[in-house]
Symmetry: C2
Amino acid sequence: MRSSRQRDAVLEVLRASCDHPTADIIFERVREQIPNISLGTVYRNLGQLKDEGFITVVESSDTKVHYEGNLSDHIHFLCKNCHNITDIFCETKIPSVLTDMGHKVQSQKTVYYGVCKDCRDNIN
Amino acid sequence: MRSSRQRDAVLEVLRASCDHPTADIIFERVREQIPNISLGTVYRNLGQLKDEGFITVVESSDTKVHYEGNLSDHIHFLCKNCHNITDIFCETKIPSVLTDMGHKVQSQKTVYYGVCKDCRDNIN
DNA sequence: TTGCTAAGTAGTAATGATTACTATTACTGT
DNA sequence: ACAGTAATAGTAATCATTACTACTTAGCAA
């Protein structure tokens, strides 16, 4: 993988994003720097960056894939009302059942679902 | 939601499945009982069953949505090699950080990624 | 029972996120 | 500078899922 302005921009945008943007949102943001970048280029680079371990994917409730540039160990809280994804930094430990079963664990993804504080305050 | 043969069959198939089938796999299996069921009917019923809380959705690495009829508290292990999803029954507890932040937690989904025992044995 | 009505269905068309393709461009080592 | 090859822009194709429509059926009330 050799360097390219487009891929650098995609990674930079993702690292600067505190939300968890979809490919089309990333496309919009990168276009501010590179107006004629192609959506296909964004998708291709997101795929490569994911394969190389520079970014990760967040599963959400909508049909689009969300991306994330923050690789530090954390989990997510997804609000069923506003659909915001919040990063939650807390320690995660691998259940011994898995290793006992002989599986090799490399990574994990945890998502908690519920109603966030802001939505609770606004609803009640 | 009134009863329908098609929806009953979809739920029955899903409850009898120990894998985590996609809509088209469920479609195939239900067709053994109801040969002329429509794929759209399968999708619509999966959606309703999910909304009513009878089934859940499992996020995986492929583009298709996987469904699950087993509602008991458990997590998943996804093998990066064979892509099988294994149910892991172990206790899960909500991090206090979440409730401390004022969020209301209703459910959770945890997936561990790695290489399963069978694949490790075959590869090595 | 019978009729009414709204929910459900089969079959098919449409949608839309993602991927593939192709001619062209731009890194990078020699 | 040049060759070789990865990367790009723009566009077409894919395909899982959803929407639509005419028809059917569950379920209730007279």
